[in-house]
């Protein structure tokens, strides 16, 4: 039972080590899907938006963690 629990924990930490970041990836992807299928934007622009959105999220989450560590 303990092995199973550890496997489940490992799987969770694989995809949601930073829960906030993992949750916020979804609206970025959903936003890109919306732009792609609901607007007439050229698809490479949607791709660029996807890259920039993920990049921005990564930078924000790294800085947020760094600030948190410094304050504590």
């Amino acid at each position: 039972m303990s092995v199973l629990r550890k496997i489940v924990c490992e799987l969770c930490s694989m995809f949601a080590g930073d829960v906030v970041m993992s949750v916020l990836v979804i609206p970025i992807v959903a936003g890109a899907a919306g732009l792609r299928f609901l607007t007439v934007l050229p698809s490479p622009l949607v791709g660029a938006g996807l890259i920039l959105g993920c990049l921005f999220l990564l930078v924000v989450r790294v800085l947020s963690h760094a600030n948190l560590v410094r304050k504590s």
Binding site: R36, F37, S43, L50, C54, L58
Partner: protein, 243 residues
């Protein structure tokens, strides 16, 4: 050219990721072997490897039989979550915000927790279970990466070969030195793997959204380059901010 970009990235990603995970698993197995005897360590390791091999053999072809269009989006999202997680942690470690993974320290802790066996020639259940758990948990990430990067365009075999090569390389070095492989640049490898997995994830999500990437599969390279440049810049900024 197009096939080789995919093959090279799939093989190198699974090789580098496996090198990191096998190094971590090796530390645990080494601690079990030295404290509880090599029979327990070997039994636990072998059992975990069987479970992992069955997972790849069962899941790989099963996922490969699903239409590509249906699997690209979910698999891309999982790769993106996994890759960004690794990259975030690697940037924080490289920037000195969180401590680096220390194999020597982990080895010492494992040795302390395991204690020593009274009869090292007999298979010890606690030792075998520790080795089993260590190899299984570290191996799960390798299995996911191999399947995720290998499921598209028949790359499962090359990706598995990359992972296997890393196992052989790390274990050969381990067999020679017989101590924790603390000189393996784990964070640099994790940084590289995080960049590559993030690139795969974004590329696949784009493909699922029918995005026409300029340069086709070469997009994998320039997406990775963007994340690498930003990651290196951020870790250097964090180092400077800490001083």
């Amino acid at each position: 050219m197009i096939i080789s970009v995919h093959a090279v990235t799939a093989i190198s990603t699974s090789f580098l990721a496996s090198a990191v995970e096998v190094t971590e698993a090796y530390t645990i197995v080494l601690a079990v072997g030295l404290s509880r005897g090599w029979r327990s360590a070997s039994l636990g390791t072998f059992a975990a490897l069987v479970v992992l091999a069955i997972s790849v053999i069962a899941l790989g072809p099963l996922l490969a039989s699903v239409p590509l269009q249906a699997i690209q989006g979910p698999m891309g999202l999982l790769l993106l979550l996994f890759g960004m997680g690794w990259l975030r942690k690697a940037i924080l470690r490289a920037g000195g915000v969180i401590p680096l993974h220390d194999e020597n320290l982990i080895f010492e802790k494992q040795m302390h927790n395991l204690g020593s066996a009274t009869r090292p020639n007999i298979v010890d259940a606690a030792g075998a279970l520790t080795a089993f758990q260590g190899v299984l948990l570290e191996g799960l990430e390798v299995v996911f990466i191999v399947i995720a990067v290998g499921v598209e365009r028949g790359m499962l075999l090359p990706a598995s070969a990359g992972a296997l090569l890393a196992c052989v390389a790390v274990l050969s070095i381990g067999a020679m030195v017989h101590k924790p492989l603390s000189r393996v640049p784990e964070n640099t490898l994790k940084f590289a793997v995080g960049v590559m997995l993030t690139s795969f994830g974004i590329f696949w999500i784009g493909e699922a959204l029918r995005v026409t990437w300029p340069g086709g599969d070469l997009a994998l390279v320039y997406i990775a380059a963007v994340f690498l440049i930003v990651g290196v810049a951020m870790s250097s900024y964090l180092r400077r901010a800490a001083t």
